[in-house]
Amino acid sequence: MALVYILNPLDAFSYSFFVRGFVVLILLSLILPVIGIRLAGKGFSMISDTLSHTSLAGIALGLVIGILPVWTSIIFSLISAFLIEIIRRKLPKHQDLALTIILAFSLGLVGILSQFAPSSNFESYLFGSPFSLKTTDLIILSVVVVVGLIYEVLFYRSNMALSYDENECKANKMPVIFLSFLDTAITSIIIAVASNMIGSLLVASFISIPVAAGLKISHSSKGSHLASVIISLISSIIGLFIAYTFSLHVGGIIVMTNILGLIICFISSSINAKKCN
Protein backbone atom coordinates (compact mmCIF):
# COMPACT_ATOMS: atom_id res chain seq x y z
CA MET A 1 0.00 0.00 0.00
CA ALA A 2 1.33 3.45 -0.90
CA LEU A 3 2.10 5.77 1.98
CA VAL A 4 0.08 8.97 2.14
CA TYR A 5 1.96 11.93 3.63
CA ILE A 6 -0.18 14.54 5.35
CA LEU A 7 1.29 18.04 5.12
CA ASN A 8 0.19 21.30 6.65
CA PRO A 9 -1.75 23.14 3.91
CA LEU A 10 -0.68 26.52 5.29
CA ASP A 11 2.96 25.75 4.52
CA ALA A 12 2.13 25.33 0.85
CA PHE A 13 2.78 28.93 -0.20
CA SER A 14 6.35 28.80 1.07
CA TYR A 15 7.17 26.47 -1.84
CA SER A 16 7.65 28.10 -5.24
CA PHE A 17 6.44 24.95 -7.05
CA PHE A 18 3.11 25.25 -5.23
CA VAL A 19 2.79 28.97 -5.98
CA ARG A 20 3.45 28.29 -9.68
CA GLY A 21 0.84 25.50 -9.75
CA PHE A 22 -1.61 27.76 -7.93
CA VAL A 23 -1.16 30.63 -10.41
CA VAL A 24 -1.41 28.31 -13.43
CA LEU A 25 -4.67 26.82 -12.21
CA ILE A 26 -6.13 30.28 -11.59
CA LEU A 27 -5.13 31.41 -15.09
CA LEU A 28 -6.62 28.33 -16.72
CA SER A 29 -9.79 28.54 -14.61
CA LEU A 30 -10.32 32.00 -16.07
CA ILE A 31 -10.05 31.02 -19.73
CA LEU A 32 -10.92 27.34 -20.25
CA PRO A 33 -14.56 27.43 -19.02
CA VAL A 34 -15.16 30.52 -21.18
CA ILE A 35 -14.00 28.57 -24.24
CA GLY A 36 -16.08 25.63 -23.06
CA ILE A 37 -19.30 27.67 -22.95
CA ARG A 38 -18.75 28.79 -26.52
CA LEU A 39 -18.02 25.26 -27.74
CA ALA A 40 -21.11 23.94 -25.92
CA GLY A 41 -23.21 26.68 -27.53
CA LYS A 42 -22.07 25.49 -30.94
CA GLY A 43 -22.83 21.89 -29.93
CA PHE A 44 -19.15 21.16 -30.34
CA SER A 45 -17.82 20.31 -26.86
CA MET A 46 -16.10 17.14 -28.07
CA ILE A 47 -13.59 19.23 -30.03
CA SER A 48 -11.76 20.09 -26.79
CA ASP A 49 -11.15 16.42 -26.08
CA THR A 50 -9.90 15.83 -29.61
CA LEU A 51 -7.65 18.90 -29.60
CA SER A 52 -6.16 18.14 -26.19
CA HIS A 53 -5.22 14.67 -27.46
CA THR A 54 -3.78 15.98 -30.72
CA SER A 55 -1.74 18.36 -28.56
CA LEU A 56 -0.51 15.26 -26.78
CA ALA A 57 0.69 13.84 -30.12
CA GLY A 58 2.49 17.16 -30.69
CA ILE A 59 4.05 16.98 -27.24
CA ALA A 60 5.24 13.42 -27.91
CA LEU A 61 6.84 14.53 -31.19
CA GLY A 62 8.51 17.47 -29.46
CA LEU A 63 9.95 15.19 -26.78
CA VAL A 64 11.22 12.70 -29.38
CA ILE A 65 12.89 15.22 -31.67
CA GLY A 66 14.08 17.47 -28.84
CA ILE A 67 12.04 20.63 -29.54
CA LEU A 68 10.19 22.43 -26.73
CA PRO A 69 6.91 20.42 -26.78
CA VAL A 70 4.73 23.51 -26.47
CA TRP A 71 5.61 24.58 -30.03
CA THR A 72 5.04 21.17 -31.64
CA SER A 73 1.76 20.77 -29.79
CA ILE A 74 0.53 24.20 -30.94
CA ILE A 75 1.33 23.24 -34.55
CA PHE A 76 -0.42 19.85 -34.21
CA SER A 77 -3.43 21.39 -32.52
CA LEU A 78 -3.72 24.15 -35.15
CA ILE A 79 -3.49 21.71 -38.06
CA SER A 80 -6.11 19.37 -36.62
CA ALA A 81 -8.42 22.24 -35.63
CA PHE A 82 -8.36 23.58 -39.17
CA LEU A 83 -8.91 20.09 -40.58
CA ILE A 84 -11.94 19.70 -38.31
CA GLU A 85 -13.25 23.15 -39.28
CA ILE A 86 -12.90 22.34 -43.00
CA ILE A 87 -14.65 18.97 -42.60
CA ARG A 88 -17.37 20.67 -40.51
CA ARG A 89 -18.01 23.15 -43.33
CA LYS A 90 -17.69 20.80 -46.30
CA LEU A 91 -19.32 17.72 -44.75
CA PRO A 92 -21.51 18.99 -41.90
CA LYS A 93 -23.19 15.61 -41.45
CA HIS A 94 -19.85 13.96 -40.72
CA GLN A 95 -18.42 16.32 -38.10
CA ASP A 96 -18.70 13.79 -35.25
CA LEU A 97 -16.91 11.24 -37.38
CA ALA A 98 -14.18 13.80 -38.18
CA LEU A 99 -13.54 14.36 -34.48
CA THR A 100 -13.33 10.64 -33.75
CA ILE A 101 -11.03 9.96 -36.71
CA ILE A 102 -8.63 12.76 -35.73
CA LEU A 103 -8.77 11.62 -32.07
CA ALA A 104 -7.95 8.02 -33.09
CA PHE A 105 -5.17 9.21 -35.40
CA SER A 106 -3.66 11.35 -32.63
CA LEU A 107 -3.82 8.61 -30.02
CA GLY A 108 -2.25 6.18 -32.51
CA LEU A 109 0.55 8.67 -33.06
CA VAL A 110 0.92 9.14 -29.31
CA GLY A 111 1.21 5.36 -28.92
CA ILE A 112 4.00 5.14 -31.49
CA LEU A 113 5.91 8.28 -30.43
CA SER A 114 5.66 7.65 -26.69
CA GLN A 115 7.80 4.53 -27.16
CA PHE A 116 10.66 6.83 -28.09
CA ALA A 117 9.91 9.67 -25.64
CA PRO A 118 11.42 9.82 -22.14
CA SER A 119 8.60 8.09 -20.24
CA SER A 120 8.95 9.99 -16.96
CA ASN A 121 8.26 13.23 -18.82
CA PHE A 122 5.45 11.90 -20.91
CA GLU A 123 3.11 10.79 -18.14
CA SER A 124 3.01 14.29 -16.69
CA TYR A 125 1.72 15.61 -20.03
CA LEU A 126 -1.06 13.04 -20.03
CA PHE A 127 -2.34 13.33 -16.47
CA GLY A 128 -1.00 16.77 -15.64
CA SER A 129 1.50 17.89 -13.09
CA PRO A 130 0.92 21.52 -12.12
CA PHE A 131 3.60 21.20 -9.42
CA SER A 132 6.41 20.56 -11.90
CA LEU A 133 6.01 23.72 -13.98
CA LYS A 134 8.86 26.11 -14.75
CA THR A 135 8.79 29.92 -14.71
CA THR A 136 9.04 29.93 -18.56
CA ASP A 137 5.84 27.86 -18.70
CA LEU A 138 4.14 30.41 -16.49
CA ILE A 139 5.20 33.31 -18.74
CA ILE A 140 4.01 31.56 -21.94
CA LEU A 141 0.72 30.66 -20.29
CA SER A 142 0.15 34.18 -18.91
CA VAL A 143 0.61 35.71 -22.37
CA VAL A 144 -1.74 33.18 -23.98
CA VAL A 145 -4.42 33.64 -21.29
CA VAL A 146 -4.30 37.46 -21.44
CA VAL A 147 -4.57 37.41 -25.27
CA GLY A 148 -7.38 34.83 -24.98
CA LEU A 149 -9.33 36.92 -22.47
CA ILE A 150 -8.97 40.08 -24.58
CA TYR A 151 -10.26 38.10 -27.57
CA GLU A 152 -13.20 36.75 -25.56
CA VAL A 153 -14.24 40.27 -24.49
CA LEU A 154 -13.83 41.93 -27.90
CA PHE A 155 -15.49 39.11 -29.82
CA TYR A 156 -18.09 38.22 -27.17
CA ARG A 157 -21.09 39.46 -29.15
CA SER A 158 -19.98 38.14 -32.54
CA ASN A 159 -19.24 34.72 -31.02
CA MET A 160 -22.66 34.68 -29.36
CA ALA A 161 -24.27 35.61 -32.70
CA LEU A 162 -22.35 32.85 -34.50
CA SER A 163 -23.44 30.26 -31.92
CA TYR A 164 -27.02 31.52 -32.19
CA ASP A 165 -27.38 31.44 -35.98
CA GLU A 166 -24.46 31.34 -38.37
CA ASN A 167 -26.69 31.78 -41.43
CA GLU A 168 -28.21 34.95 -40.01
CA CYS A 169 -24.68 36.31 -39.55
CA LYS A 170 -23.94 35.48 -43.21
CA ALA A 171 -27.11 37.32 -44.25
CA ASN A 172 -25.91 40.28 -42.14
CA LYS A 173 -22.68 40.27 -44.20
CA MET A 174 -20.46 39.36 -41.26
CA PRO A 175 -17.12 37.71 -42.19
CA VAL A 176 -18.33 34.35 -40.86
CA ILE A 177 -15.55 32.18 -42.30
CA PHE A 178 -12.81 34.53 -41.03
CA LEU A 179 -14.40 34.76 -37.57
CA SER A 180 -14.81 30.97 -37.34
CA PHE A 181 -11.22 30.32 -38.36
CA LEU A 182 -9.93 32.96 -35.94
CA ASP A 183 -11.96 31.31 -33.19
CA THR A 184 -10.62 27.89 -34.16
CA ALA A 185 -7.02 29.18 -34.15
CA ILE A 186 -7.30 30.83 -30.73
CA THR A 187 -9.13 27.87 -29.20
CA SER A 188 -6.57 25.38 -30.48
CA ILE A 189 -3.58 27.46 -29.32
CA ILE A 190 -5.03 27.82 -25.80
CA ILE A 191 -5.88 24.12 -25.61
CA ALA A 192 -2.39 23.16 -26.82
CA VAL A 193 -0.62 25.41 -24.31
CA ALA A 194 -2.94 24.31 -21.49
CA SER A 195 -2.35 20.64 -22.35
CA ASN A 196 1.38 21.27 -21.99
CA MET A 197 0.92 22.85 -18.59
CA ILE A 198 -1.71 20.72 -16.90
CA GLY A 199 -2.12 17.68 -19.17
CA SER A 200 -4.81 16.63 -21.63
CA LEU A 201 -7.04 15.09 -18.97
CA LEU A 202 -7.39 18.30 -16.96
CA VAL A 203 -7.90 20.46 -20.05
CA ALA A 204 -10.85 18.39 -21.22
CA SER A 205 -12.33 18.46 -17.71
CA PHE A 206 -11.84 22.23 -17.26
CA ILE A 207 -13.58 22.83 -20.59
CA SER A 208 -16.57 20.61 -19.92
CA ILE A 209 -17.34 20.02 -16.20
CA PRO A 210 -17.58 23.62 -14.86
CA VAL A 211 -19.43 24.56 -18.05
CA ALA A 212 -22.11 21.92 -17.45
CA ALA A 213 -22.40 23.20 -13.86
CA GLY A 214 -22.57 26.86 -14.94
CA LEU A 215 -25.24 26.11 -17.56
CA LYS A 216 -27.24 24.27 -14.91
CA ILE A 217 -27.35 27.06 -12.33
CA SER A 218 -27.47 30.15 -14.52
CA HIS A 219 -30.00 31.23 -17.12
CA SER A 220 -28.00 33.78 -19.04
CA SER A 221 -24.86 33.86 -21.12
CA LYS A 222 -23.05 36.29 -18.80
CA GLY A 223 -24.22 34.38 -15.72
CA SER A 224 -23.12 31.01 -17.12
CA HIS A 225 -19.70 32.43 -17.97
CA LEU A 226 -19.29 33.85 -14.48
CA ALA A 227 -20.67 30.77 -12.71
CA SER A 228 -18.48 28.31 -14.61
CA VAL A 229 -15.34 30.40 -14.00
CA ILE A 230 -16.11 30.65 -10.26
CA ILE A 231 -16.89 26.90 -10.00
CA SER A 232 -13.70 26.13 -11.85
CA LEU A 233 -11.64 28.44 -9.59
CA ILE A 234 -13.08 27.06 -6.34
CA SER A 235 -12.86 23.39 -7.30
CA SER A 236 -9.34 23.63 -8.70
CA ILE A 237 -8.01 25.51 -5.64
CA ILE A 238 -9.67 23.04 -3.25
CA GLY A 239 -8.34 20.17 -5.38
CA LEU A 240 -4.84 21.63 -5.34
CA PHE A 241 -4.81 21.91 -1.53
CA ILE A 242 -6.20 18.40 -1.06
CA ALA A 243 -3.60 16.98 -3.45
CA TYR A 244 -0.79 18.88 -1.68
CA THR A 245 -1.94 18.05 1.85
CA PHE A 246 -2.37 14.33 1.26
CA SER A 247 0.35 14.00 -1.43
CA LEU A 248 -2.19 12.79 -3.99
CA HIS A 249 -2.31 13.06 -7.77
CA VAL A 250 -3.13 16.73 -8.51
CA GLY A 251 -4.77 16.24 -11.92
CA GLY A 252 -6.97 13.38 -10.79
CA ILE A 253 -8.06 15.16 -7.59
CA ILE A 254 -8.98 18.36 -9.47
CA VAL A 255 -11.15 16.37 -11.90
CA MET A 256 -12.89 14.87 -8.85
CA THR A 257 -13.44 18.25 -7.13
CA ASN A 258 -14.80 19.62 -10.43
CA ILE A 259 -17.24 16.71 -10.62
CA LEU A 260 -18.22 17.29 -6.98
CA GLY A 261 -18.93 20.95 -7.88
CA LEU A 262 -21.08 19.75 -10.78
CA ILE A 263 -23.06 17.41 -8.51
CA ILE A 264 -23.63 20.22 -5.97
CA CYS A 265 -24.87 22.51 -8.77
CA PHE A 266 -27.24 19.84 -10.08
CA ILE A 267 -28.66 19.21 -6.59
CA SER A 268 -29.05 22.92 -5.77
CA SER A 269 -30.71 23.65 -9.12
CA SER A 270 -33.15 20.72 -8.62
CA ILE A 271 -34.00 22.00 -5.11
CA ASN A 272 -34.56 25.51 -6.51
CA ALA A 273 -36.75 24.13 -9.31
CA LYS A 274 -38.87 22.25 -6.72
CA LYS A 275 -39.20 25.40 -4.60
CA CYS A 276 -40.35 27.37 -7.66
CA ASN A 277 -42.95 24.74 -8.46
Binding site: A40, G41, G43, R157, K170, A171, N172, M174, S224
Partner: protein, 204 residues
Amino acid sequence: MKIEFKNVNFNYDNDVVFSNLNLEIKEGEFVGLVGNNGTGKSTIIKLIAGIVKAKSGEIFNDFHSVGYLSQVNINKRNSFSANVREIVSLGLKKKPFSFMTKKDYQKVDDILHKMGIYELRNKRLDELSGGQQEKVRFAEVILSNPDLILLDEPTTGIDEVSKQEIKNILKSLLKEKKTIVMVSHMQEDFPEGCRFIDLDKEEK
Protein backbone atom coordinates in the same frame (compact mmCIF):
# COMPACT_ATOMS: atom_id res chain seq x y z
CA MET B 1 -34.16 48.99 -54.02
CA LYS B 2 -35.03 45.62 -55.55
CA ILE B 3 -34.06 41.99 -55.95
CA GLU B 4 -33.76 40.48 -59.40
CA PHE B 5 -32.97 36.90 -60.45
CA LYS B 6 -31.89 36.48 -64.09
CA ASN B 7 -31.65 32.93 -65.47
CA VAL B 8 -30.51 31.57 -62.12
CA ASN B 9 -29.56 27.90 -61.91
CA PHE B 10 -29.06 25.96 -58.72
CA ASN B 11 -28.35 22.34 -57.93
CA TYR B 12 -27.22 20.25 -54.97
CA ASP B 13 -24.71 17.75 -56.44
CA ASN B 14 -26.75 16.06 -59.20
CA ASP B 15 -30.17 17.28 -58.04
CA VAL B 16 -31.31 20.27 -60.08
CA VAL B 17 -33.35 22.53 -57.79
CA PHE B 18 -34.27 25.05 -60.47
CA SER B 19 -32.92 26.26 -63.78
CA ASN B 20 -33.33 29.58 -65.61
CA LEU B 21 -35.30 31.12 -62.75
CA ASN B 22 -36.33 34.73 -63.26
CA LEU B 23 -38.06 36.81 -60.62
CA GLU B 24 -38.27 40.35 -59.35
CA ILE B 25 -39.12 41.68 -55.89
CA LYS B 26 -39.58 45.41 -55.39
CA GLU B 27 -39.19 47.58 -52.32
CA GLY B 28 -42.22 47.54 -50.01
CA GLU B 29 -43.60 44.25 -51.37
CA PHE B 30 -44.60 41.29 -49.22
CA VAL B 31 -43.82 38.26 -51.38
CA GLY B 32 -44.95 34.75 -50.49
CA LEU B 33 -42.94 31.91 -52.01
CA VAL B 34 -45.13 28.83 -52.32
CA GLY B 35 -44.75 25.48 -54.00
CA ASN B 36 -44.25 21.78 -53.33
CA ASN B 37 -41.31 20.31 -51.44
CA GLY B 38 -38.10 20.41 -53.44
CA THR B 39 -39.09 23.38 -55.60
CA GLY B 40 -36.35 25.47 -54.00
CA LYS B 41 -38.34 27.92 -51.87
CA SER B 42 -35.79 27.98 -49.03
CA THR B 43 -32.95 27.98 -51.53
CA ILE B 44 -34.25 31.23 -53.06
CA ILE B 45 -34.24 32.83 -49.60
CA LYS B 46 -30.69 31.57 -49.00
CA LEU B 47 -29.57 32.88 -52.39
CA ILE B 48 -31.02 36.32 -51.60
CA ALA B 49 -29.34 36.27 -48.18
CA GLY B 50 -26.00 35.26 -49.73
CA ILE B 51 -25.82 32.07 -47.67
CA VAL B 52 -25.47 29.90 -50.78
CA LYS B 53 -24.26 30.85 -54.25
CA ALA B 54 -25.99 30.27 -57.57
CA LYS B 55 -24.30 27.86 -59.97
CA SER B 56 -24.96 30.26 -62.84
CA GLY B 57 -27.09 33.27 -63.69
CA GLU B 58 -27.26 36.69 -62.06
CA ILE B 59 -28.71 37.77 -58.72
CA PHE B 60 -29.10 41.47 -58.16
CA ASN B 61 -29.85 42.65 -54.60
CA ASP B 62 -29.30 46.25 -53.52
CA PHE B 63 -30.98 46.10 -50.11
CA HIS B 64 -28.42 47.35 -47.59
CA SER B 65 -29.39 45.31 -44.58
CA VAL B 66 -31.05 41.91 -44.48
CA GLY B 67 -32.84 40.21 -41.59
CA TYR B 68 -32.98 36.44 -41.92
CA LEU B 69 -35.10 34.03 -39.93
CA SER B 70 -33.95 30.51 -40.70
CA GLN B 71 -35.72 27.23 -40.16
CA VAL B 72 -34.37 26.10 -36.85
CA ASN B 73 -33.65 22.85 -35.12
CA ILE B 74 -34.80 23.53 -31.57
CA ASN B 75 -32.94 20.57 -30.05
CA LYS B 76 -29.63 22.07 -31.07
CA ARG B 77 -30.20 25.02 -28.80
CA ASN B 78 -30.19 23.14 -25.48
CA SER B 79 -26.63 24.04 -24.57
CA PHE B 80 -26.81 27.61 -25.88
CA SER B 81 -26.34 29.70 -22.75
CA ALA B 82 -27.95 33.02 -23.78
CA ASN B 83 -31.39 33.99 -22.48
CA VAL B 84 -34.20 35.74 -24.39
CA ARG B 85 -32.99 39.28 -23.57
CA GLU B 86 -29.44 38.47 -24.67
CA ILE B 87 -30.61 36.79 -27.87
CA VAL B 88 -32.89 39.68 -28.85
CA SER B 89 -30.05 42.13 -28.09
CA LEU B 90 -28.12 40.51 -30.97
CA GLY B 91 -30.53 42.35 -33.26
CA LEU B 92 -28.80 45.58 -32.21
CA LYS B 93 -25.18 44.57 -31.87
CA LYS B 94 -23.56 41.41 -33.08
CA LYS B 95 -20.32 42.55 -34.73
CA PRO B 96 -16.86 42.11 -33.15
CA PHE B 97 -15.77 44.99 -30.88
CA SER B 98 -19.40 45.93 -30.17
CA PHE B 99 -20.74 46.48 -26.65
CA MET B 100 -24.24 47.00 -25.30
CA THR B 101 -25.15 50.23 -23.51
CA LYS B 102 -28.02 50.93 -21.09
CA LYS B 103 -29.88 52.68 -23.94
CA ASP B 104 -29.50 49.58 -26.09
CA TYR B 105 -30.99 47.40 -23.37
CA GLN B 106 -33.89 49.85 -23.10
CA LYS B 107 -34.57 49.31 -26.81
CA VAL B 108 -34.41 45.53 -26.26
CA ASP B 109 -36.91 45.76 -23.39
CA ASP B 110 -39.21 47.93 -25.52
CA ILE B 111 -39.40 45.35 -28.30
CA LEU B 112 -39.87 42.55 -25.75
CA HIS B 113 -42.88 44.45 -24.35
CA LYS B 114 -44.20 45.14 -27.85
CA MET B 115 -44.01 41.46 -28.79
CA GLY B 116 -45.53 40.38 -25.46
CA ILE B 117 -42.50 38.34 -24.40
CA TYR B 118 -41.03 40.60 -21.70
CA GLU B 119 -41.96 38.05 -19.02
CA LEU B 120 -39.79 35.47 -20.81
CA ARG B 121 -36.69 37.70 -20.83
CA ASN B 122 -34.69 35.62 -18.35
CA LYS B 123 -35.50 32.25 -19.89
CA ARG B 124 -33.36 30.26 -22.26
CA LEU B 125 -34.66 29.10 -25.65
CA ASP B 126 -34.88 25.47 -24.57
CA GLU B 127 -37.32 26.48 -21.83
CA LEU B 128 -39.78 28.00 -24.32
CA SER B 129 -42.48 26.51 -26.53
CA GLY B 130 -41.99 26.52 -30.31
CA GLY B 131 -44.30 29.52 -30.68
CA GLN B 132 -42.51 31.51 -27.97
CA GLN B 133 -39.14 30.71 -29.56
CA GLU B 134 -40.40 31.97 -32.89
CA LYS B 135 -41.53 35.26 -31.33
CA VAL B 136 -38.08 35.70 -29.75
CA ARG B 137 -36.46 35.14 -33.13
CA PHE B 138 -38.84 37.60 -34.74
CA ALA B 139 -38.05 40.19 -32.06
CA GLU B 140 -34.33 39.83 -32.78
CA VAL B 141 -34.81 40.32 -36.53
CA ILE B 142 -37.28 43.23 -36.15
CA LEU B 143 -34.97 45.00 -33.68
CA SER B 144 -32.18 44.96 -36.26
CA ASN B 145 -34.54 47.10 -38.42
CA PRO B 146 -33.44 45.63 -41.78
CA ASP B 147 -34.43 46.96 -45.22
CA LEU B 148 -35.36 43.43 -46.24
CA ILE B 149 -36.76 40.59 -44.09
CA LEU B 150 -36.41 36.97 -45.21
CA LEU B 151 -38.59 34.42 -43.40
CA ASP B 152 -38.11 30.69 -43.91
CA GLU B 153 -41.23 28.87 -42.73
CA PRO B 154 -41.76 30.95 -39.59
CA THR B 155 -44.99 29.16 -38.65
CA THR B 156 -43.91 25.55 -39.09
CA GLY B 157 -44.36 23.29 -36.08
CA ILE B 158 -45.99 25.81 -33.76
CA ASP B 159 -49.42 25.81 -32.09
CA GLU B 160 -52.47 27.57 -33.54
CA VAL B 161 -52.50 30.42 -30.99
CA SER B 162 -48.86 31.28 -31.68
CA LYS B 163 -49.50 30.96 -35.42
CA GLN B 164 -52.19 33.62 -35.13
CA GLU B 165 -49.84 35.87 -33.10
CA ILE B 166 -47.10 35.47 -35.71
CA LYS B 167 -49.65 36.31 -38.40
CA ASN B 168 -50.52 39.51 -36.52
CA ILE B 169 -46.81 40.43 -36.47
CA LEU B 170 -46.69 39.79 -40.23
CA LYS B 171 -49.75 41.99 -40.76
CA SER B 172 -48.14 44.88 -38.88
CA LEU B 173 -44.94 44.48 -40.92
CA LEU B 174 -47.05 44.56 -44.09
CA LYS B 175 -48.72 47.77 -42.89
CA GLU B 176 -45.30 49.32 -42.23
CA LYS B 177 -44.46 48.64 -45.91
CA LYS B 178 -41.46 46.48 -44.99
CA THR B 179 -40.02 44.45 -47.86
CA ILE B 180 -40.55 40.81 -46.93
CA VAL B 181 -39.96 37.51 -48.67
CA MET B 182 -41.53 34.58 -46.86
CA VAL B 183 -41.60 30.85 -47.50
CA SER B 184 -44.40 28.60 -46.29
CA HIS B 185 -46.22 25.42 -47.26
CA MET B 186 -49.57 26.87 -46.25
CA GLN B 187 -51.17 29.75 -48.17
CA GLU B 188 -53.27 30.63 -45.09
CA ASP B 189 -50.06 31.49 -43.17
CA PHE B 190 -49.59 34.59 -45.32
CA PRO B 191 -51.35 37.87 -44.48
CA GLU B 192 -53.80 39.36 -46.97
CA GLY B 193 -52.27 41.67 -49.54
CA CYS B 194 -49.19 39.59 -50.19
CA ARG B 195 -48.03 38.72 -53.71
CA PHE B 196 -47.49 35.01 -54.30
CA ILE B 197 -44.80 33.44 -56.43
CA ASP B 198 -45.78 29.82 -57.06
CA LEU B 199 -42.62 27.88 -57.82
CA ASP B 200 -44.59 24.96 -59.24
CA LYS B 201 -45.62 27.27 -62.06
CA GLU B 202 -42.27 28.98 -62.60
CA GLU B 203 -40.07 27.85 -65.46
CA LYS B 204 -37.96 24.91 -64.25
